[in-house]
């Protein structure tokens, strides 16, 4: 899943793919705006066929957090 998420991330922010790790923080390290982040989660829903809860979004800081959360939805 990490590779797929990484691909989605690169549609939103212009960072070097090699620098992205599971510890990367969306806002602080990757430079997401809050609206970019919401849009990306919409794409995650489409790509993985899951339903993301808006309340849970606030707890997702790093890519690792997000992967753990998305996997719990499957």
């Amino acid at each position: 899943m990490f590779e797929q998420i990484k691909e989605l991330i690169l549609n939103y922010v212009d960072v070097d793919a090699d620098t992205i790790t599971e510890e990367s923080r969306f806002i602080e390290d990757l430079g997401f705006t809050s609206y970019d982040f919401m849009s990306m989660l919409g794409e995650v829903e489409e790509t993985f066929g899951v339903q993301v809860e808006e309340e849970a979004v606030l707890t997702l800081s790093t890519i690792g957090d997000a992967i753990k959360y998305f996997e719990s939805l499957k």
Binding site: N11, Y12, V13, D14, V15, I27, E28, D29, L30, G31, T33, S34, Y35, D36, M38, S39, L41, G42, E43, E45, E46, V52, E54, E55, V57
Partner: protein
């Protein structure tokens, strides 16, 4: 619809049922299906809810709070309150239980409609808002006293009551960037005047995607009330996460946004066009679902460059201007004739605009009755002759309004010069390296505090140097008294209001560079 017949919100919902009947007013998702809610069903449900309210409250005046995202049941609760001659109090769904309690008590709310996702705050409200007699769930909810579905099943339709257009229809809290929220009192006549104030070109074949929060008057009047007048179908965007998906699903012909949404969608379209080497117009068609005729933007400043960019994409973006206190439209643009001169549209019919000491003042039948139980604030906003002092600075040219800043944010330097921080902030609107900016006075210096876009420049020192160069260039375009003399760089986003505006009063976090 003959607009001369619409005097109250109750007339509007009744006439829309008569004229558009079973045509879909709302399309919304229910699980994996899309369900429709017609104009006729809305009016029928509203009358049943009015009957329920009448039977529970036995003639007592009702102030009904409603909290939740846009849904057909939200609309039923709103108009059920209205057709019985009662008052709605729409609340911001992002607030915490303590803030909701405060607003409920200050607006004398005695009936509370809530979306299921706020069920957890009901025990807190029951304990702290003893005057609220009934809590009604908009949808099925565990432990709910009663739901809208139960009401519309059990109760018959109330007979329409006579409503005076000058009577209070809604108390709408302004979020504001400073101070405590004020309850704006809007009468039936205020809201209806705003529904009728522009000869908007529209027809019942239009399909609108509603993405804004329903408790804001901009969304309420321009999405929901205007669509009742025109018979437009509104598709509900169920989450900010799903705008892209819902654009493809519902293929709207129009959409109302705030500049942040317009800017982000524009950026995404241009990025995708570059990455896939496709013409941006083709990407825009795909992103917007292929049928979009125009976008309306309001609520904050939209850079003219973004407006021009959308025109190049073949999608006119019309900028309007207004405020809750004016129901809300003061000026609006026509999508057949979009101006990119930096104005915020033409003054709407029935509204008179003057400039006094640089401030925009407005007189119009849309202007509020005052702030609920807050005479001091009312006296500040409305003068003895009924002019609304908007607090915005600007000028009018050929009936078009140009905004230069907020009066209360004016920086008055020790040399007596006045500087509008927004005017300076707007100069950075198209600088990609600037994600967020706040301008203020510090130690007598005009200071810009900036959150740089780290995608473009991950190294802070390098970002600082580039920004200093950009500021130097911008300063060349400014009178010397207004030039930016100090730069602070921050690494975290600014605190924002729930409507995503940067709060002007917040602690300085950026380092001087």
């Amino acid at each position: 619809m003959d607009k001369t017949k619409i005097k109250t919100l109750a007339d509007l919902v009744r006439l829309s049922a008569e004229e558009f009947g079973d045509k879909a007013y709302i399309k919304e998702k229910a699980g994996t299906e899309i369900v429709e809610y017609s104009h006729a069903k809305l009016y029928s449900d509203a009358r049943k809810i009015a009957y329920y309210i009448k039977s529970v409250y036995e003639g007592e005046k009702v102030h009904a709070a409603i909290i939740g995202p846009s849904s057909s049941m939200y609309l039923a609760a709103y108009f059920g309150t209205i057709v019985g001659g009662n008052v709605t109090v729409p609340l911001d769904a992002q607030l915490q239980a303590e803030d909701i309690t405060d607003l409920v008590n200050r607006a004398d709310v005695n009936l509370f409609f809530y979306d299921t996702r706020y069920a957890a705050m009901i025990p807190h409200l029951k304990e702290n808002c003893p005057q609220v007699k009934a809590f009604v769930a908009l949808h099925e909810a565990e432990g709910a006293e009663i739901t809208i579905a139960e009401i519309t099943e059990k109760f018959s339709k109330a007979e329409p009551v006579e409503i005076d257009p000058s009577s209070l229809a809604s108390i709408v809290y302004t979020s504001g960037t400073t101070g405590k929220a004020k309850g704006v009192m809007l009468s039936h006549g205020n809201l209806i005047d705003n529904v009728n104030c522009a000869d908007d070109e529209s027809d019942s074949e239009q399909v609108l995607l509603s993405v804004l929060p329903i408790h804001h008057v901009y969304c309420w009047t321009c999405d929901f009330l205007l669509s009742l007048r025109y018979g437009t179908t509104i598709c509900i965007n169920d989450s900010m996460m799903r705008i892209a998906m819902n654009l493809k699903l519902f293929q709207p012909t129009m959409m109302l946004v705030v500049p942040m949404i317009a800017q982000t969608l524009y950026k995404q379209i241009m990025n995708a066009a570059t990455a896939k080497q496709l013409p941006p117009q083709a990407v825009a068609q795909a992103v917007f679902g292929g049928r979009l005729r125009c976008i309306y933007s309001g609520g904050a400043y939209l850079a003219p460059e973004i407006q021009k960019g959308y025109l190049d994409l073949g999608i006119p973006i019309c900028q309007g201007y207004g405020m809750t206190e004016c129901s809300p439209r003061i000026s609006t643009a026509n999508y057949n004739n979009v101006s990119t001169a930096g104005d915020v549209g033409e003054v709407v019919k029935g509204c008179t605009v003057e400039i006094r000491d640089g401030e925009i003042v407005v007189k119009s039948p849309s202007v509020m009755q005052g702030y609920y139980k807050y005479p001091e604030a009312t006296a500040e906003a409305l003068d003895a002759d009924g002019w609304l002092h908007t607090g915005d600075l600007g000028y009018v040219e050929n009936n078009r309004i140009f905004i230069t800043g907020r009066k209360k944010n004016l920086i008055i330097l020790s040399n007596g010069e006045n500087v509008s921080p927004e005017e300076l902030e707007n100069k950075f609107a198209t600088v990609d390296l600037v994600s967020e900016i706040l301008v203020y006075a510090e130690d007598g210096f005009v200071t810009a505090e900036i959150l740089p876009n780290r995608d473009l420049c991950p190294d802070l020192d390098a970002a600082a140097n580039k920004l200093k160069e950009i500021i130097k260039e911008i300063n060349l375009t400014l009178p010397s008294s207004k030039t930016i003399r100090r730069l602070r760089l921050r690494e975290v986003e600014f605190d924002k209001t729930t409507s995503k505006k940067i709060k002007r009063q917040q602690s300085i976090q950026g380092e001087i560079v």
